[in-house]
Symmetry: C2
């Protein structure tokens, strides 16, 4: 089989499985999820052996420490993957819900039935735990999943995928419901993005480069996720001590995540008072601080920020400050340079907060809280398959219920249309 | 300005208008819609003059009668456009609704706020009433709209668009909220499909060729609409007299629409009894009947259907019959050859109907009713901007509420994330 035939074969098997998955009883899906969790823990040594191969190869290629950390598995991390599957098993099953029914004046009964999307493809980068998280969320929502992970994690993903798929099939899930693309050839990913007749939704998870490649090549509906150039705007009337705590949390708690803050906008009225204090604490946390001209007039040894900086998601211990004239300039700056992910205003004024919430065009808008909360579990939605930064279909953390759609059912008694 | 600059300028103006539109009071939007309706009626002679130019040019190019009918406007049709705007004004405003709020154990308050998509682009073919319907639905839902109609209707669309935009601006709607692309150059449409930074959703309305061009070129999220290769499956136990009435309605009432039936699948057990009666009545209605080998054994002068026929949306007085072994073959045939639009089962058996509803993977599934009902007004959803045949975002008739999204607002009191 060449690459195109391989992808076609995977897609056909996924499509065929999807029809069976759509009508699988909740009990079967939950039992499968629990068996999948057990299988991960039972086969942990096999998973860690495959992962070691990946880590060794990555080290030889000189992959950076921060990226290596995302790739490395250990017993605790495998247990966490298993735990996530158990949590997904405990979530309510969205499939089969009758969302609404109504009767038209002519007696026609119309209803909306919640159904799976069908086949979901996930294209992601180095983290092998996505293989397991995405499999669980897709199975729970009745979708077949095609997983295409990064080449760094190829052996880990193949091993995890095989273990999960075997445990699922043993529990009554159709063969083809969970498949990992068994090649690192980039052509396979490109071909997968074009399989319009078989794949109902494509979810890319990764950096800006991956998202760009998907947008460039995809011929199937995409849910864009992840890139987060998140802002914190500090108003004149903000509680400055609280503001510093929130900025430190949003920047430093996990700087490699998409909901970490990358920019701080400061009202001119408090700039000369607030910025030196904030820069001082950030530097104590090992953060490199960049800034606009005005910031540098206040703290001269701040690195000059270029126009590019305002667009950049650092995913690192770097942050850039900008002095603004007020709320309106802050909102306009965020809407121009942001990625529509998560942005916060720190203010004691309810009206300013409302205006920021209304006018900042982002998936999640915060008042006096850290942007780090944008997360399915933190929101109480359960495990997430990604954070959507687009407006169609789902926005913000995507959970089991976001991998569904509705179909209309219409019940007549010989009804025909008159006009 | 060259084409690329022209499109960029239109997009920038739409984006800028969209921020103002998002916060426009309901009263302003409704007043604008009513003024737009009045303006269409007041300027009907100007619209008809522009339309005459289009019709004349189309006739000279030898455009077919059926297509000409979609292009031609008259006083009654302009009044119908105005009436549609008035109906949209009367619909509830979805924007600003707080869909849900909840409080997390840490005291963080999380909510979902309904907001417009932002900028919606509509690319469509010959019907000039789409210019007015889409403008109304987009304005009501707080979206800026960029309209790119077919070259056949260029003068009509430009005139209608200018009248609507002027009436809207006079009523307090920002300039740039309603724009018609002022060129028939195909490059303009292709460029519009790539304006990812400005356009939030692209809705193509038209035939399979248009949809294909959009899927091939679009770099922005698309809601696919329209193509309808709709099926009616007649079970062994169907009420045959009722079945014939439904088939005639679904095929003949308006054969050029996407919810018209194109295929009839008949259970083998009643084929020799039912097909001759159905073919007879269809022919009396001027329908050309095609059929599979078995159909032709029963009614020999039926035109042989090719493999291509099973995939084809005729949009004409043509229908094809196929004899099947039963429910399972019918479902598999529809899922393989259909376009996921509207499909019906005619049966007296509740269990068969349920199985069909569950397993046919289409936007709308009917039991003992005509597929012609798939329509926003028929469903009681109000005016529609198209019928989505994809699963992401919206499925089936798309109305005002489908041109919205939610944003999360998160209210804290200095909350930071611990883990």
């Amino acid at each position: 089989m060449n690459i195109d035939e391989l992808i076609l074969d995977i897609c056909k098997r996924a499509k065929s499985a999807s029809y069976e998955l759509a009508r699988l009883p909740t009990e079967t899906k939950n039992k499968a999820l629990l068996n999948m969790a057990d299988a991960l823990e039972k086969n942990v040594s096999e998973i860690l052996k495959a992962n070691e191969k990946d880590v060794k190869a990555s080290k030889e290629r000189g992959v950076k420490e921060a990226l290596l950390d995302r790739l490395i598995l250990n017993e605790k991390r495998v247990s966490k993957m298993a735990q996530c599957l158990r949590e997904v098993a405990a979530l309510p099953d969205p499939i089969g819900e009758i969302v609404r029914t109504w009767t038209r004046p002519n007696g026609l009964i119309i209803g909306q039935l919640r159904v799976p999307l069908g086949v979901v493809a996930v294209i992601y980068e180095s983290r092998p735990d996505v293989t397991s998280d995405a499999s669980g969320i897709c199975l729970k929502s009745g979708n077949a999943v095609i997983l295409r992970g990064g080449s760094d994690a190829f052996n880990s993903n193949m091993t995890i995928g095989r273990i999960l798929s075997e445990a699922a099939v043993e529990s009554g899930v159709p063969e083809g419901a969970i498949q990992v693309v068994p090649t690192t050839d980039r052509k396979a990913a490109i071909q997968l993005m074009k399989m319009r007749d078989y794949v109902d939704a494509l979810i890319p998870r990764g950096g800006a480069g991956l998202i760009r490649a998907v947008i460039e090549n995809a011929k199937i509906p995409v849910i864009e996720t992840g890139t987060g150039n998140c802002h914190i705007y500090v108003e004149e009337d903000a509680d400055q001590e609280q503001a510093i705590k929130i900025i430190i949390n949003a920047k430093c708690q996990r700087p490699g995540t998409c909901n970490a803050a990358e920019k701080v906008l400061v009202h001119r009225g408090i700039a000369s008072e607030f910025i030196p204090k904030a820069v001082d604490v950030l530097r104590k946390h090992g953060v490199e601080v960049r800034g606009c001209e005005e910031t540098r007039k206040i703290v001269p040894d701040v690195i000059p920020a270029t126009e590019d900086d305002w667009y950049t998601e650092y995913l690192d211990l770097i942050i850039a400050f900008k002095v603004v004239n007020g709320l309106e300039e802050a909102i306009n700056h965020i809407n121009k340079y942001g990625t529509k992910h998560s942005d916060a205003i720190l203010t004691s004024d309810f009206n300013k907060a409302l205006r920021f919430i209304r006018d900042v065009d982002s998936a999640a808008v915060y008042w006096n809280a850290s942007t780090r909360f944008t997360d399915g579990n933190q929101y109480g939605l359960g495990a997430e398959i990604g954070i959507s930064t687009q407006k169609l279909h789902a926005r913000g953390p995507m959970s089991v219920q976001h991998l569904t759609t509705i179909k209309y059912f219409v019940l007549g008694r010989g009804h025909i249309r008159e006009l």
